[in-house]
Structure formats: structure tokens, C-alpha cells
């Protein structure tokens, strides 16, 4: 019995060494280790042995079984490796074929830019509010300290609706009025994103529709230094900390003092020219305007019922597409609303 076991083990291991395919390996397994295999058959004979030989033979049989099983596992592992290698070398798998692509969606570049803006102001504690796109003259202009027949109205070419007194909002600034009504008399800070409309011929640099983000903070003891802090932080996060930022006095009827914020030109780096040619982005000035801002005008506070002697605040407004154009070097504003999928999928 013992000799038989030894001889079986030797035969089996010899045969196993010659096994070169998974199929042959399976045949080998069935031949030696299977239910009707040689080892099993041999083991069935164990019971017929004299009692004193049984422990020795049983131990031996177990050892043989374990040895064969281990050899089988080892061979199987080796074969699997060989097969994989063979598949590759035989180019059964063309690893350079284009993959099967999942459908990729894209957010519109305006939405993406808006989200960046939300994130920056969100981190400074600004909530987000929205308001309607159809507005009345009172909210869009008069409550913002722009009376009828005021020359400042030239700053906003307006689409009027056929119903008198109604218009498409020319800026997100009427949102200031809505925000103040909502929070009065509490202090607050919000941004108000949305679409705006201007009666302007469509060119590469002007559009009849665009997105703006208005911002407003109202409270006690808010200063122009706070405004500068918030907007400088925004400009640096949006355009890079290496950009210079400057505040230039300007005029908006609903803020006093008012300012425009410029950053050093990203194309020429503020030099005004690129390789000896005048810079086409900043038109030689070295600066590009990114937004308008100021301290809330007392008349605006009065229109809503905040006491301008007790409250101060700041407001700002920026054009989203303009930001995107500067940031991504888009030269033509009209592309934003053509929705050419080749444009839409460029930004992700």
C-alpha cells in the first residue's frame, strides 16, 4: 500500500510536469484527485488493511493527497500566468483599441463659472438668493436711485415689455431690493446670480443676454475696507494670487462711493504689450475691469426702510461671461448662447 502510494505520487507529479493547458490540467485532476481518480480508488482500499497498518497508511495517504493538491494548485497558478502572458503576446487583446466610453455630460461654461463664484463667496459666508427676470421700472431703476429721465439710465439700454412699466431686468441689482425686503431689519450678506438683458447689438464683446452675480452685505459698521477685502479675495481666488488688483473710483447711482475693480491683464501681465505688439486684451492699459462695486447709497437704504444713519453696506456686480472670457481666453461672447456642442464640451 505504501509503495503504491509512493509510486502513484511519483507518476502523478511526473505527469503534472508535462501538463501545458487548463484542459490537460483538468484531465489530470480527474485522473488522480477526482471522485473516480486513482488516489481515491487507492484510499478506498484503506479499510481492507490490517488494523495495525492503518494509521501509518492513513497518514501516508493524507500526505500524498496534500502533496498532489498543493502541486495541482501550484501548476494551476503557473498555467494561469502563462496563459495570460500568451494572450497578450499573441495580441489576443488589442490594448490600444479605444475604450468603450460612458456618455460624458458637460455643464455650460457659464454655469461652471457661476459655481466657482458661488464657492468663493460661499466660503465668505454669502448666502445665495434669486429673483425674477421680469422686473418693473420701480425695482430695476427707481428704488436703486435712478429716477426716470436720469442720464444714468444711459448706462443700461433696456428691453421693455409691451405692458407699461415692465422690463427685462438690465442687471441683477434689483435683487438688492428683494434681499433687503427679505432680511429687513437684520444684517445679511448674499449673492444674487441670474440672467440679465440689455438692448445692445450683439457683437463679439456685447450681448443682449448675460449672467451677472450681484453681491450685497448690509449691517452696522461695514466699511469700504471690508468691501475691498472681500473683492480682493475674490479676484485672487478667481484669477490667481499673482494678479494685481486695483480699485478705481467710478459711478453707479445705487452706490456711493462707487468703484470699478481691475486686475492686471492676464495676457500681457500688466505690461500693456506682448512681444512688442499692443495687448489686445487690455488695449495697452495693463488692466482689465472685472466688476463694479460701492457702498450702498443712502437713498437705496431709504427706499427699502433701512436707516442709513444706522446701517451701512456694500454691493457689487460682476458679469459671469466676462469672467469666463478672461479666464479661459474666449474671444467671442456670442459663442456662449450658440450652444455648439464642440464649444460646450471644451470646459469640464
Amino acid at each position: 500500500m505504501l509503495a503504491e502510494l509512493r509510486s502513484l505520487q511519483n507518476t502523478a507529479l511526473q505527469e503534472l510536469a508535462g501538463v501545458e493547458s487548463p484542459e490537460a490540467l483538468e484531465t489530470w485532476r480527474q485522473s488522480f484527485l477526482g471522485k473516480k481518480g486513482q488516489l481515491t480508488t487507492l484510499l478506498r482500499g484503506l479499510g481492507a488493511l490490517p488494523a495495525e497498518q492503518r494509521p501509518e497508511a492513513g497518514r501516508m495517504a493524507n500526505e500524498t493527497k496534500q502533496a498532489l493538491e498543493a502541486a495541482y494548485a501550484e501548476r494551476e497558478e503557473a498555467l494561469r500566468g502563462q496563459m495570460a502572458e500568451r494572450d497578450l503576446t499573441a495580441s489576443a487583446l488589442d490594448v490600444r483599441l479605444p475604450g468603450r466610453p460612458p456618455a460624458l455630460g458637460h455643464l455650460h461654461i457659464s454655469t461652471q463659472t457661476l459655481r466657482e463664484i458661488y464657492a468663493i463667496f460661499g466660503s465668505m459666508g454669502f448666502d445665495i438668493l434669486t429673483s425674477s427676470e421680469v422686473e418693473d421700472d420701480v425695482t430695476n431703476f427707481q428704488m436703486l436711485n435712478i429716477p426716470p429721465d436720469h442720464p444714468a439710465r444711459d448706462m443700461w439700454s433696456t428691453f421693455y415689455l409691451t405692458r407699461p412699466g415692465l422690463l427685462l431686468r438690465t442687471h441683477t441689482s434689483p435683487g438688492q431690493i428683494h434681499a433687503m425686503h427679505k432680511y429687513h431689519p437684520e444684517p445679511f450678506r448674499v449673492i444674487l446670480p441670474g440672467k440679465c438683458y440689455r438692448y445692445e447689438q450683439v457683437t463679439t464683446r456685447s450681448e443682449e443676454q448675460f449672467h451677472q452675480v450681484e453681491g450685497m452685505a448690509v449691517g452696522r459698521n461695514i466699511t469700504m475696507a471690508d468691501l475691498k477685502g472681500v473683492l480682493a479675495h475674490f479676484a485672487h481666488r478667481m484669477f490667481g494670487s499673482e494678479r494685481a488688483v486695483r480699485f478705481r473710483p467710478s459711478y453707479f447711482p445705487f452706490t456711493e462711493p462707487s468703484a470699478e475693480v481691475d486686475i492686471s491683464c492676464m495676457l500681457c501681465g500688466g505690461e500693456g504689450h506682448v512681444a512688442g505688439e499692443p495687448c489686445r486684451v487690455c488695449k495697452k492699459t495693463g488692466w482689465v475691469e472685472i466688476l463694479g462695486c460701492g457702498m450702498v447709497d443712502p437713498n437705496v437704504f431709504r427706499a427699502v426702510g433701512y436707516d442709513p444713519e444706522a446701517y451701512t453696506g456694500f454691493a457689487f456686480g460682476l458679469g459671469v461671461e466676462r469672467v469666463a472670457m478672461l479666464k479661459y481666453g474666449i474671444g467671442d461672447l456670442r459663442m456662449f448662447f450658440e450652444n455648439d456642442v464642440r464649444f460646450l464640451e471644451q470646459f469640464s
Binding site: D127, V134, Y197, Y199, G229, Y251, E256, P257, K283, V341
Partner: protein, 815 residues
């Protein structure tokens, strides 16, 4: 506003560079948008001396000139001007010079004679309309000198963007004031040297002034000049006007323009000989009245327009434009010079309604310095006398029903610093305000009284003075600090707002492989008509830019369909788009008369996959768009939705109503459908256009009403059984599903359609020829599971048997 540096330097001794000035003005709030060389186009023209002139051998009107241009050799130039003569100094364009019209001067042969340059007329140089002959220059000039230098032409002009509040800066004087302030320089007004001629008469007696309403016209002054000779203005005046883009006309008219640009006071000169009677009246028009303005246009007026009348008729549209019946012509000799102030709103209304913006109306509507107007009138009269030889009558006809009232404001330094966030000193603020022309009474240190000057109409309130102090100090010098702003902690819950919901929808769209489109909110009436959308409820734009953008979109579809057209034209044939935007419909109950309803539009067209390999080529169809909608509803915890055919729809066929079950019954959340081929054709769509239009506001409301809640994961294994039913092709899978559920097999956990097989016979032709209805096979997979124990085959077989037996009884199907 264009500002000539030469002109500016007459008012303020600024010696720095134009760049320094531009930088300083910009940081004071007067944004210099460009620095222009107005004579760049003639920068290369040189002075030439005609040494010799001989007639052209082959022509009776050409001359051959030998012209010294300062070089070693004189040039031979053929000239066609009759006035060219030896001994003249003339402007010469050398070979290679580009002329203002764009022509480049080349060496040429004129009737056999070589010409190496061109002698220019004033018109060719853009200096006037003069083209009868060449321009003859002063004899004192040196040949070879640049013409621009020789004539002292301005080479540096600032283009300054003036904000609507700074009417005072719409003049050389205004910019000079700011320059003086910015660089600490003195401001010098031009010396006044007006010689009146009492012998010519007295203006106050010659003209009687009547002002109907002092609110509309607070002051009207007139000077009278007699014996003027109309002609060309002197060169210095013409060149100066040209440098800032003003076309010189004639000496009298040029002076009014010159003073307007220099001092910001609009003036008007009448031909007094054409005025009837000796009276000037300022009074409103009557409705429907007309006046012919000096551009020859007849203007229809309203009672809100203000007119200048003589004894009989209107002679000017006040502050906007003079009348044709009384304007200065070449024959004029008698001049009535008007210097008035009109109410800004009145002028603005008229100029806008008549689309007649002018340099005058632009200034009047922003406000003109009433006190300073006296000086402007005197200087204008003096210049007119100088350039036209006219005599100036003694005195000024004056009517001033509403004299300038000085304004005083309080100024609290503490509040100024509190607003700006800095610590300006009292001394700085005092000197700044004084420098601006304000009077300062600081006897109460905490609350000064500050009088603002008449040219600064924008300094109306204390806060305006704060701005001035901040502006002069420099906003750039205010520190940037991150604010300690107190605010309520009741922040808006982002996810709970419409805004937050739309953000989530967009994330879903991107995750579903859709591209976000953003379209115009306005479309054309035609776009809505094409989709057979109702005319009622449309919100129209009163002043559209074009007829294809004259109405607000009442649905999301038109924009997306336009995107189909654009993209197909560009060769982008496979489209998977979405847009979240507002649709606008009239609503009397809304504050703005408009209901703004946010919609989600999804559009698929053409190949299902953007590339062929390794997908099988296939076209997007109903199941693509429905799958997207089902997926969205599931994402919003609204179930799969139910889908009901709608027999009629304005532009979708088939059209499917998407309904969501609620406690209050099914709610219509939107529609899915194929754009009718005829309509799709209009957008050049070659493949089926499938569209979903969903109500975002309603989806949000429904989604908010549900909450995600945890369900334990199953502990015991499922048992799955498939059933394939052979049924008429017209029987909806949903009906089979419902029937299975009605049979209520015990422990059924879920039920899913796993295969649809339409044997060839499903083609209707064959079915018809066989005389039986087309059939298809539907395979459903039923998953059975017990929550607390493992199911045994036997009990599942029993339940499943109920289904197999029950289905053919409920429906015309075979198993």
C-alpha cells in the same frame, strides 16, 4: 470725451507725460480709455518748398514741380492743382506714405513724366473740405519739417470715459480742474478781453426775453453781434476742433462748438436778421406742433418739448438743435448768441424721443454750471468778434427767473472715516473740499457745513462729499480687510431653495451624459407659431432688437430646437442636450404680470452614441428620452412615473404625459414626445427629435414632500423565476406587469421586464397577410424573497404557478 493735451495745458501748467496724466485721472475716477494721435494718418507728411514749376509737356493742366523736402536732392513731382507755384511751401506726401483715405503714394509716371510724391490739398489731408487747389503753407516753414510739427498739430488726445454724474468734466476746463487737483497745480482761466461797441447798440434794449417757466429755463442770456463776416475759422481753432473729432463749419458756429468743448457750456447762434421781432421767448411746444431743425428734418413735437420762439414762430428746439429758419448761413452778418440753462429732464426726454442726441443735449441733460455760464458767454462773444470781425453790442440781454441757489451740506469726519474704513485727517478733508471749490465752515468740529460749487451739481449730499475725500485720497490706499460682518445664522438652506434644486438638476444632467445649453430667454413670434403654441399669454418685448427675438419664450422647446439647427449646420449630428431655464407666461396675479416657471428641457437627436465604435450604430428614440426621465424621477424619489399617451399636442407626436403619483392623485409633471417631423424639418433635423419638457417647480415641490429613509438590506437569498408571455404587439408591457401584480403572488419582491422579442412576424405587413395580429414576446423576471427565512423551491413554484395560470385568464396572452 476727447481732451487735447495742448488745450488742457492752457488751463493748467502740467508738464508730465500723457501717460502720467492718464494714470492719475483714471485713479481719480475719470477713466482714460485710450490715448489717441488724431493726426496719425498724416504723421509722415512733410513740408516741401516748390523751387521750380514748369508746365507738363503733354498736358495743359498738369505742372512738373521741383520740390525741396530737406533732403540732398529735390523731388520731381507732377501736380494737377491750378494754384501750385514756385516759391510756395506745400505739404508733400513722400513715396511710401499712406494717405488718410488709405491710398499709398507710389512712384508713378503721369503722361510720361516721373512723379516721386504728391503735393496735397487740405481735403487730402483731412484738414478741411478744401480741394480747389493744394494747401499753401506759411513761408516761414523749413522744408523737410514734419507737417504736424510745423502746424503745431495736437498729437496727444485723451479719450476719457465720463460717468453720468460728472457733467462738470465734459469740458477741457473740467478735466483741467481735476488735473490741478491731482497734481497740486494752479488753474488758470483764459483772460477775458471782450470789447463792447456801444455804438452798435445795447443788447438788453435790442432783445426782449420772456421765459414762460423758470423751472424749465432758469436763465437765458443773449449777446448781440453785428457786422460779422462768415468764413473759415483761423487754423488754430480748426485744428483744435479737428483734433477732438469736431468738424469745423464756419467761424461763428465753430466758436460755439469751441466754447462747448472748452467750458462745457452749450451755446446757440441765431441769424438775427432772420428772427422776427425783437423778442426771444422760451415756452413749451403744443402737442402736434412741428419744427424743421437745421438738419432739414421736420420734427413732430409734444407739449413736453421746450422751444425757443421769436415774435412769431419757434426758431429752435431748446437745448437740442436750432431751427432751419434762423440758423447761421454764409450770408449772415447779424448774430444773436444764446447762452441758457434748461431743465435736464426736459432736454433728455426730447432728445431721446426724437433720437436727436447732440453735444448740447448731452450736457444739458447732465447739468450745466449756471454761474459759470456768464464767463462762457463773454468768452464766446470775444472769440466771435475776433474771428469774424463782428462788433459786439454793449450789455447782455438777461432773464434769470431762477438764480443759482447755493447748497450746503453737513460733513461729519467721523462718519466719513467710518464709511471708508480709514482715518483721514480733518486737515486733509478740509483741503480736499476746498480744492474742489467747496466752502468749508468747520466751526463745529464734529459737523462741518460745506457749500458745494455750482459746477459740481453731483455733490448733493454728505455721502457725496465722503466719496470725494475717498477719491482724492485714493481708493487704492484704503486697506483691504476681511469683514467682521455680523449676519443671521438662519442661512438659506441651499438644498431647500429653488436655486439649490436647479443646481442638483444640473448635476443630474451632467451625470446622465447630457450637455447643458443656455439659450436666449426671448424668441421670435414665428418660433412660437411654428410650434402651434397659443397666442394668449405671450409676453412681448416692446423694443426688440429683431423680429426673431420679440417675445419671451413660453416653453423651453424653441431654444433647444434652434440648437439642433445650429449644431446640424456645424456637422454635430449627435445631440444630447439639456437646459434649465424659465418660461414666461402672462399672469395677472403676479407682481410683474409674468409667471416665471422654471422648466427642464431634454433633447436627444441622432446617433445614440457619439462615436460608432465599439457601439452598434443606433438612433436615439423614445426609450432614450423616457429612460432619462425615469432616471430623473427615481433620482428625485418620485418613483418611475407613469406615462400616458396624449392624443393631441401642438408640436409633439406622439406625445406622452409624464405623471407622478401623489396622495392627491396623479400630477402631470411634464411631457415627452417626438417633435412632429414637419416642424422638425424647419430646424433641418434629419433624424427624430425627442424632447422632454418638465416642470421644475412642480418636481421640486413633489420631491420636497418625500424624504429618503433607510431600509434594512435583505438577509435571505432571493429566488428568481422568469415568465415569457406571447401577446399581441398592441398590448402594453405595463398592462402585463399590472396583471401580474394583481395576481398578488406571495413574497414577490420585484418585477422587471428583462426582454422584448418581436418575431419577424411583428412586421405588420406579414401579420396582415397572415390574417392575424402581430405578436411579441415579453419576458418578465419575478424576484421572490422572504424577509425572515430562506424560501424553498416548492413554495415559490406554487406562487409562480398562480401567475402562469392566471395571466392567460386576465389577458389575451399565451405563456
Amino acid at each position: 470725451m476727447l481732451i487735447s493735451l495742448q488745450w488742457l495745458r492752457e488751463f493748467v501748467p502740467f508738464t508730465g507725460t500723457v501717460q502720467e496724466l492718464a494714470e492719475r485721472l483714471t485713479m481719480q475716477g475719470l477713466e482714460v480709455e485710450a490715448i489717441i494721435d488724431p493726426f496719425a494718418s498724416i504723421a509722415k507728411i512733410v513740408v516741401g518748398h516748390v523751387a521750380e514749376r514748369t508746365p507738363h509737356p503733354e498736358s495743359d493742366h498738369l505742372s512738373v514741380c521741383t520740390v525741396d523736402v530737406g533732403g540732398p536732392e529735390a523731388l520731381q513731382i507732377v501736380c494737377g492743382a491750378p494754384n501750385v507755384a514756385a516759391g510756395q511751401n506745400v505739404p508733400v506726401a513722400l513715396i511710401g506714405t499712406s494717405m488718410p483715405g488709405g491710398m499709398e503714394i507710389k512712384k508713378a509716371k503721369l503722361r510720361g513724366v516721373v512723379s516721386t510724391g504728391m503735393i496735397c490739398s487740405e481735403r487730402e489731408l483731412g484738414l478741411s473740405e478744401e480741394h480747389d487747389g493744394i494747401m499753401v503753407l506759411p513761408a516761414s516753414l523749413r522744408p523737410g519739417q514734419l507737417l504736424t510739427e510745423a502746424l503745431g498739430l495736437e498729437r496727444e488726445v485723451l479719450e476719457v470715459g465720463i460717468t453720468p454724474n460728472r457733467a462738470d468734466c465734459l469740458s477741457v476746463l473740467g478735466i483741467a480742474r481735476e488735473t490741478a487737483l491731482g497734481f497740486g497745480l494752479p488753474l488758470t482761466m483764459p483772460a477775458l478781453n471782450l470789447k463792447e461797441d456801444p455804438a452798435a447798440g445795447n443788447a438788453a434794449q435790442a432783445v426782449r426775453l420772456e421765459i414762460a417757466d423758470g423751472e424749465l429755463c432758469p436763465v437765458y442770456r443773449a449777446r448781440v453781434l453785428t457786422g460779422a463776416r462768415i468764413g473759415k475759422s483761423p487754423d488754430w481753432m480748426r485744428y483744435r476742433l479737428l483734433a477732438i473729432g469736431q468738424r469745423p463749419i464756419s467761424n461763428i458756429v465753430d466758436v460755439t462748438n469751441y466754447i462747448l468743448m472748452e467750458l462745457g457750456q452749450p451755446l446757440h447762434s441765431f441769424d438775427r436778421a432772420l428772427l422776427k421781432g425783437d423778442v426771444i421767448r422760451v415756452a413749451p411746444a403744443s402737442d402736434g406742433q412741428t419744427i424743421t431743425t437745421l438738419d432739414g428734418q421736420e420734427r413732430k413735437l409734444l407739449g413736453s418739448d421746450l422751444l425757443i420762439w421769436d415774435a412769431e414762430r419757434p426758431v429752435a428746439l431748446a437745448g437740442v438743435m436750432g431751427g432751419a429758419n434762423s440758423s447761421i448761413t454764409d450770408a449772415s452778418t447779424e448774430v444773436l448768441l444764446e447762452c441758457a440753462i434748461f431743465r435736464p429732464g426736459t432736454i433728455r426726454k426730447t432728445a431721446r424721443r426724437l433720437a436727436l442726441p447732440s453735444e448740447s443735449s448731452y450736457r444739458f441733460e447732465r447739468g450745466v454750471d449756471q454761474v459759470g455760464s456768464v464767463f462762457a458767454l463773454e468768452r464766446a462773444a470775444q472769440l466771435m468778434a475776433e474771428v469774424s470781425g463782428a462788433k459786439v453790442m454793449a450789455g447782455v440781454a438777461t432773464a434769470e427767473p431762477k438764480p443759482w441757489a447755493p447748497r450746503e451740506h453737513i460733513f461729519r469726519l467721523e462718519r466719513c472715516n467710518a464709511l471708508l474704513g480709514i482715518s483721514l485727517t480733518a486737515e486733509f478733508c478740509r483741503s480736499t473740499l476746498t480744492g474742489l471749490g467747496c466752502s468749508v465752515d468747520d466751526s463745529d468740529a464734529a459737523c462741518w457745513r460745506v457749500g458745494s460749487p455750482p459746477h459740481r451739481l453731483d455733490l448733493e449730499r454728505e455721502v457725496d462729499l465722503f466719496e470725494e475725500c475717498g477719491r482724492v485720497h485714493g481708493l487704492d490706499r484704503i486697506p483691504a480687510v476681511l469683514p467682521k460682518i455680523s449676519k443671521s445664522l438662519d442661512s438659506v438652506q441651499m438644498s431647500d431653495t429653488e436655486f439649490g434644486f436647479i443646481q442638483a438638476l444640473k448635476a443630474w444632467g451632467v451625470g446622465s451624459g447630457l450637455r447643458e445649453a443656455v439659450n436666449y430667454s426671448f424668441v421670435g413670434t414665428e418660433d412660437l407659431d411654428r410650434l402651434n403654441l397659443p397666442v394668449e399669454g405671450r409676453i412681448k418685448i416692446a423694443n426688440p432688437l429683431s423680429e426673431d427675438q420679440n417675445v419671451l419664450r413660453t416653453e423651453i422647446a424653441p431654444g433647444l430646437l434652434n440648437n439642433v439647427r445650429h449644431n446640424l449646420a456645424q456637422g454635430n449630428a449627435s445631440l444630447r442636450l439639456f437646459e434649465v431655464a424659465k418660461a414666461f407666461v402672462e399672469d395677472a396675479a403676479s407682481d410683474t404680470g409674468a409667471r416665471e416657471n422654471s422648466r427642464l428641457g431634454v433633447l436627444v437627436h441622432g446617433a445614440r452614441h457619439s462615436q460608432e465604435w465599439p457601439w452598434e450604430q443606433s438612433e436615439a428614440d423614445y426609450l432614450d428620452v423616457k429612460g432619462l426621465v425615469e432616471n430623473l424621477l427615481a433620482h428625485l424619489r418620485l418613483g418611475a412615473g407613469s406615462y400616458v399617451l396624449e392624443p393631441e399636442h401642438p408640436y409633439l407626436a406622439p406625445c406622452v404625459r409624464v405623471e407622478v403619483a401623489t396622495k392627491a392623485g396623479p400630477k402631470l409633471v411634464g411631457r415627452i414626445g417626438r417633435v412632429e417631423p414637419k416642424i422638425a424639418d424647419a430646424y433641418h433635423a434629419r433624424k427624430e427629435v425627442w424632447l422632454a419638457d418638465l416642470d421644475v417647480d412642480l418636481l421640486r415641490a413633489l420631491s420636497r414632500a418625500t424624504k429618503p429613509s433607510f431600509k434594512s438590506l435583505p438577509k435571505f437569498p432571493p429566488v428568481r423565476r422568469d415568465v415569457t408571455v406571447i401577446c399581441p404587439a398592441t398590448l402594453h408591457a405595463e398592462a402585463v406587469e399590472a396583471a401580474i401584480r394583481e395576481l398578488k403572488p406571495k413574497n414577490l419582491e420585484s418585477l422587471a421586464l428583462v426582454a422584448v422579442y418581436a418575431p419577424e412576424a411583428a412586421s405588420e405587413d406579414k401579420a396582415a397577410s397572415d390574417g392575424k395580429a402581430a405578436e411579441r414576446n415579453l419576458t418578465f423576471r419575478l424576484t421572490y424573497r422572504h424577509a425572515e427565512r430562506t424560501l424553498v423551491d416548492k413554495e415559490v413554484d406554487k406562487e409562480h404557478g398562480k401567475v402562469l395560470a392566471g395571466l392567460p385568464q386576465k389577458l389575451p396572452v399565451r405563456i
